[in-house]
Symmetry: C2
Subunit: 299 residues, 2 copies
């Protein structure tokens, strides 16, 4: 089965202690779609300007990503530039040029509307809801978010949360949303907002899932050298949803391994600038690293 | 087999957002010894003043801790007081009264000198070395430490590290020691200082072991309510060494489960002030939580 992914499609100019790279392919949907593509066919929904480099369209195509939901319009592609500190958990946004993204209204091609697995990658929650409005009874919908929406669009986010099966956010966002310092306690509070599956991402420390089946502690693959963490969280949810959409059996019986696959996809993402490393790997490399991670976590 | 534990024996006055408790039984050796006592007989080496409450001696005895290495001398017991913020990863020391600890020179009773398993819990590295000077060919020696010794006794610590099998420190200490921001890279650097087994504690995020057998990612037991994290790290190494000292087979084949047992001991420690909760549990409660943790981490 395929997975529908909506989110931002952007150009990222990134500086980390390991180097500097301008106008890389970026955005939540790009990272999530490439990570998901190793597991399942992907249908992308996004918007880019006429300046969007053909080589990036080719890169999507190389990953067999269905682009019939990618709007190409007059104007400039969303451009983000940021700089990471030596401790790459800390980053500073240098510039955000929304460009064509400012007027983005996701339109789903008819063939997209019947998708069973839907990933609402990080964009404004009103746009995430607008995508759901166009869907016909999807089987499993997961939304990701970021601190920006907690700050400026909380009512929209709360509306969205009543309509999704799964919700993914990072630990500081979980604290901000629930005013609860303890992540385990925060997870419980977030269930009350709607989602049956709540996942808190903790970067290099892995992720925690809370569902009716209890908690799951997903490890992160340990990396001695991180080049650029941009898009790691998007790769995590993308890999997870890609795996889930093709796995046989119930969500409950697959979501743990799906998270580990997402975690591994995120680890590859961190090893190169933007999508440079991720677009060079294979499904086999992911499977090998999942096996490796199993060994590292066994006791 | 028994485990020899040397470290601080103190009275702790602790304030956390959950309450305030004066003159609790504390110190690295106390926490480590109680945690280890669930797995193995413990020989304690420490010093207290004549003001040390009899009820705490009784508490050690309840845990069948051998006190022939506990010096009771004229003067006041080491007293520490501290306050935790809402985010309990942050704490502030309000007062440190060394008392009799200032003149502490660990003396090992003859029966202690042949111990196979030695835990040099957190005290000055020169004292940790002094204990090793008195040992006859121990089988497995692990040292714990704290940032204070990195700041004021680094040469002593570096000397000690050449003499121990295992070294335990937390993530920020690992960064400080190696000037390496990435924990995985830091682990590799620490091996070069001597220890074959290096363990970095990451609090609620678990711990990482590096050894010739590779890495091991030990999960932490997720707690929705933390009352007082004081002594959690000491409980971790104590539980680990207690388990190791009685397990059959090689260190390599037991150390992963030993770390998980330590992690579980640490989780109980966090659920009460000082040692209040830990001294109420049983080995059975630990084993059940280890099983629970196995389920939470399985994928």
């Amino acid at each position: 089965m395929s997975v529908l992914i909506v989110g931002s499609t952007a150009l990222d100019s990134i500086k980390t202690p390991k180097g500097e790279n301008p106008r890389l392919l970026g955005g939540s949907a790009s990272h999530a779609a490439v990570a998901a593509s190793f597991f399942a066919p992907v249908k992308l929904v996004g918007i880019v300007g006429k300046d969007f480099p053909k080589r990036y369209v080719d890169l999507y195509r190389k990953h067999k990503i269905d682009l019939s939901g990618l709007q190409v319009v007059e104007g400039k592609t969303f451009h983000w530039s940021g700089e990471y500190e030596v401790n790459m958990n800390n980053r500073r946004t240098l510039a955000t040029d929304l460009g064509v993204f400012e007027t983005f209204s996701p339109k789903l091609p008819a063939l997209y509307q019947k998708s069973d697995y839907v990933l609402l990658a990080n964009i404004a929650p009103s746009l995430q809801s607008h995508v759901l409005d166009q869907m016909r009874r999807p089987k499993f919908v997961v939304a990701d978010t970021m601190d920006l929406w907690l700050n400026i669009a909380l009512p929209d986010l709360l509306k969205l949360l009543k309509r999704v099966d799964g919700f993914v956010l990072n630990d500081s966002e979980a604290r901000q949303l629930t005013k609860e310092d303890n992540v385990v306690a925060a997870l419980k509070k977030i269930h009350k907002l709607g989602p049956k599956y709540v996942i808190v991402k903790k970067g290099e420390h892995g992720a925690i899932l809370s569902s009716s089946a209890g908690l799951f502690l997903s490890p992160a693959f340990p990396l001695a050298h991180v080049v650029d963490p941009t898009g790691a969280g998007d790769s995590f949810v993308g890999g997870m949803m890609g795996y889930l959409s093709t796995a046989k059996g119930s969500i409950d019986s697959n979501i743990r391994r799906a998270m580990v696959c997402g975690s591994v996809a995120a680890s590859f993402c961190c090893e190169g600038f933007g999508l440079k490393f991720t677009t060079r790997i294979t499904r086999k490399a992911i499977d090998e690293r999942v096996k490796h991670l199993e060994k590292l976590a066994r006791f």
